[in-house]
């Protein structure tokens, strides 16, 4: 009986997280605030970089670093939106009235993950095409992007929840998120470099493992700590 209740509770948490995700997606499709912010940022920096460097001059070291820097700062411009929007429209209390904190955090996290995937799906192929970036191990790059996105979205979501409750919303987000998410950035660049070399120069498995472990740690910490932010 006990375990049945628990199972039902888990199922309900999942369903409600999905409902909140769907609500945010619906809202996003009607306004496109976050999507536009991230997307335009990524495109503008991509073209600026391409224009400044030219198409044939950059080594794969620089190209892989630039790719992650574009993705990183583009996501910084949009990930905070998810909580700031609730706080500024005074819907945070309404949401608090009907849903548990964990459900809310998971819903927002899924939304941010999907948002980043959408951006990557467009920006990465474009980047590879425009910058003449030769990728030898596509699967490796895909794995790095996958785990990296989980890490970025996890850290971005919990920091977004923090700054939504503070007085200086826009300015603080990157300041708080940058040092925490730097492991993702550094490891992501390293794996991408590896993927762009014909013969793997180091074993990428341990780096992918650390990307994965980081994502797990930050998402777990986020779930555990979100209650304290949200109920404040």
């Amino acid at each position: 009986m006990e375990s049945l209740n628990q199972k039902q509770g888990l199922l309900q948490t999942g369903t409600n997280a999905y409902l909140i995700f769907k609500k945010d997606l619906l809202q996003e499709f009607k306004t496109r605030y976050a999507l536009n912010a991230i997307f335009l940022f990524a495109l503008v920096t991509l073209f600026a970089v391409s224009f400044a460097i030219g198409t044939f001059n950059a080594s794969s070291d620089i190209l892989s670093a630039l790719l992650w820097i574009i993705l990183f700062f583009a996501s910084m411009s949009g990930l905070s939106h998810i909580f700031v929007r609730e706080e500024e429209a005074h819907t945070a209390d309404t949401l608090k009235l009907v849903a548990k904190p964990t459900e809310i955090f998971l819903g927002k996290l899924i939304f941010n993950i999907v948002l980043l995937f959408m951006v990557e799906l467009l920006v990465v192929p474009l980047y590879v095409a425009i910058m003449n970036f030769t990728i030898y191990h596509i699967l490796l790059l895909a794995a790095a992007l996958l785990f990296g996105t989980f890490g970025l979205a996890g850290g971005g979501t919990i920091v977004a929840a923090i700054i939504a409750k503070s007085n200086a919303r826009g300015a603080l987000f990157t300041v708080l998120a940058f040092p925490i998410l730097l492991p993702v950035l550094v490891t992501g660049i390293s794996v991408t470099k590896n993927a762009a070399t014909e013969k793997l120069f180091s074993n990428p498995v341990s780096e992918l493992q650390s990307l994965f472990a980081f994502a797990i740690v930050i998402i777990t910490a986020g779930i555990l700590l979100f209650d304290f932010i949200w109920n404040e």
């Binding site: 909140i20 819907t91 209390d93 309404t94 009907v98 404040e232």
Partner: protein, 206 residues
């Protein structure tokens, strides 16, 4: 259903809002929270409905001597107030069905239609909330607060933005609601007090 609040105290930084508020209320009655502007009526409402944690004190909901958990409370209270907004970009139906589903209601369509009709919003339910007038938004908030048939209804500023007809509907609702369930009002308006069986006055603590 019984609501008990014991020695509720709230500070913002060193600034004291109120201190040691006690009260109890049960189904079949109406409780009114009174006080001048800025006295902390809204803060008290948010604390009693568990939206905000008090600095000290406890709020408990009992049913037949059994204390309800936070999740159970969430399903059984309705709340409307000026700071509880609905999603402006979504339509009324989208808003209401989101809240209904998340509260675990399955067959909410008939109730939703009836309430929309009752509050004179029929025909406008597919418009985004952004396009509503402030009075219509207030009516929609009543629909939101009542959709899941709560046992306790919190209303902060019941009349705000409503016209005479809207107020009449709300008063009908109040007299019906307090017969079997618990109604908690926060108001400054003497007319609203006709429903109150019990009053709590917040005096600014010195």
């Amino acid at each position: 259903m019984q609501l008990i609040a014991e020695s509720i105290t709230k500070y913002f930084n060193e600034h004291i809002i109120f201190k040691d508020i006690h009260f109890a209320a049960a189904s079949g009655s109406c409780l009114a929270v009174l006080g001048p502007n800025g006295s902390g009526k809204t803060t008290l409402m948010r604390i009693v409905s568990k939206l905000l944690a008090p600095t000290a004190g406890t709020v408990t909901f009992n049913e037949n001597g059994q204390v309800l958990t936070d999740t159970e409370i969430r399903y059984r209270i309705g709340f409307l107030g000026p700071y509880l907004e609905l999603y402006q970009d979504l339509t009324a139906t989208e808003n209401l069905s989101f809240f209904a589903k998340i509260r675990g209601l399955t067959d909410y369509q008939p109730a939703m239609n009836r309430l929309l009709d009752q509050f004179g919003l029929k025909g406008r339910e597919e418009d985004p909330v952004r396009a509503y007038s402030s009075g219509m938004k207030q009516r929609l908030k009543y629909v939101f607060a009542l959709l899941h048939q709560p046992d306790v209804l919190f209303v902060d500023e019941p009349r705000s933005n409503l016209d005479a007809e809207g107020i009449a509907r709300v008063y009908d609702l109040f007299s019906e609601f307090k017969k079997e369930r618990l109604l908690i009002l926060a108001t400054n308006d003497s007319e609203d007090l006709q429903f109150a069986d019990e009053r709590i006055e917040i005096r600014v603590a010195g």
